[in-house]
């Protein structure tokens, strides 16, 4: 129920921002479409903590900021590789451990790896990720486990909730 309400709230804000009109007729139509969407989503059983991770709270915001910084750094590195004449790539495929307890945490970790240029998640299986990296630097940056720790920290509280 909490998730349905927050989904409705997010949809309403989105609708208002995108339409930019505040007339009675249009607002009524907006309310109707938001209600219909929430109803359909509930019938489809997709209104849950995974599609709508409000429990992450502010830690998600700080994580995003850190991730943006990482994206900028690795994008610069990959761009440097591409513009050089001889393109010093050293592609490799390796596995890293994902220490998150929940599936949501695993998904966030795998997608963060894919989102940073230079590394792409190929497979996700029982706590291990198969990753393709374009060179040594990208590989070492991932193997020191910094990103893994941060994702676990962000999704950490939730993992305990799920266990209980």
């Amino acid at each position: 129920m909490v998730h349905a309400l927050s989904l409705g709230g997010v949809l309403a804000v989105l609708w208002l921002l995108l339409s930019g009109y505040f007339k009675i007729l249009l607002l009524t139509l907006g309310v109707a479409s938001v209600a219909l969407t929430v109803l359909v989503a509930r019938r489809m059983d997709i209104v849950d903590h995974e599609g709508h991770p409000i429990h992450l709270g502010w830690r998600a915001v700080t994580y995003w900021l850190w991730l943006l910084k990482e994206i900028a750094k690795s994008a610069r590195d990959v761009a440097k590789i591409v513009v050089q004449r001889e393109m010093p790539i050293a592609p490799s495929v390796f596995r890293v451990k994902a220490t998150q307890k929940s599936e949501l945490g695993n998904v966030i970790y795998a997608n963060s790896i894919t989102l940073t240029p230079g590394t792409v998640t190929l497979e996700v299986e029982d706590g291990y990720l198969t990753v393709h990296a374009i060179d040594r630097g990208c590989r070492e940056g991932l193997e020191n486990g910094d990103m893994d720790r941060r994702v676990t920290h962000m999704a950490g509280e939730f993992a305990e909730e799920e266990k209980a």
């Binding site: 009109y21 007729l25 249009l26 059983d45 849950d48």
Partner: protein
């Protein structure tokens, strides 16, 4: 009323030319490719380019449709069709010169017909003097929605749109019945309870 500077118009012209060249290259590669799968991907690029062109030509609603139908749904439908056929196009040995002649003549005639058309965006053109001014000036008062296209489609041409929607709905239902019916699998109660648990 927004008036655009000459440099903006020039930039739009260059954009037109470059996009049309990209489209031409895509179309040529569509002709020469043999792998049907690759052809589907190239036609995706074709409709993406077309959507940008529609935006450049100010027909935003058409671009919307191209975005959702051309690049989204039709790729999926073509793939579903491909699942029923072979992945490679058959090689054609003989050449159909008569067909080529018909196509060339039709193309030339269509090209010739464009000479008689009014200039693009000409306010004196018949199409802009008939009912368009009423839609533009009165639709806000008469119908209400801020988007003129919406009020034209839903009110002024309401019956027409209803007919179109019926046709599209019937077509979609038919396609789903033919292609999708075999794949459907009812969720068992075990599946549902598992979903609920999570």
């Amino acid at each position: 009323m927004i008036t655009l500077g000459n440099d903006v118009i020039l930039a739009s012209d260059i954009l037109n030319v470059v996009l049309l060249v990209l489209m031409l290259i895509t179309a040529l590669s569509l002709i020469f490719l043999r792998n049907l799968f690759a052809i589907i991907m190239m036609s995706g690029i074709f409709s993406l380019t077309a959507a940008v062109l529609y935006v450049v030509w100010d027909s935003v609603d058409v671009s919307f449709t191209e975005a959702s139908v051309g690049a989204g749904i039709s790729t999926v439908l073509m793939l579903a069709t491909l699942a029923l056929t072979a992945p490679e196009e058959k090689r054609i040995r003989q050449r159909h010169w008569a067909s080529l002649a018909v196509v060339t003549v039709t193309g030339a005639l269509l090209g010739y017909a464009t000479i008689d058309m009014p200039r693009y965006g000409d306010p004196e053109a018949p199409v802009n003097k008939h009912v368009a001014p009423r839609y533009i000036y009165e639709s806000g008062k008469e119908v209400g929605p801020p988007n003129m296209v919406t009020s034209t489609l839903a009110a002024y041409r309401g019956y027409d749109t209803l007919g179109e929607t019926t046709v599209i709905f019937t077509a979609a239902a038919g396609v789903i019945t033919i292609i999708g019916a075999a794949r459907r699998r009812r969720r068992t109660s075990a599946d549902v309870s598992k979903v609920r648990e999570v």
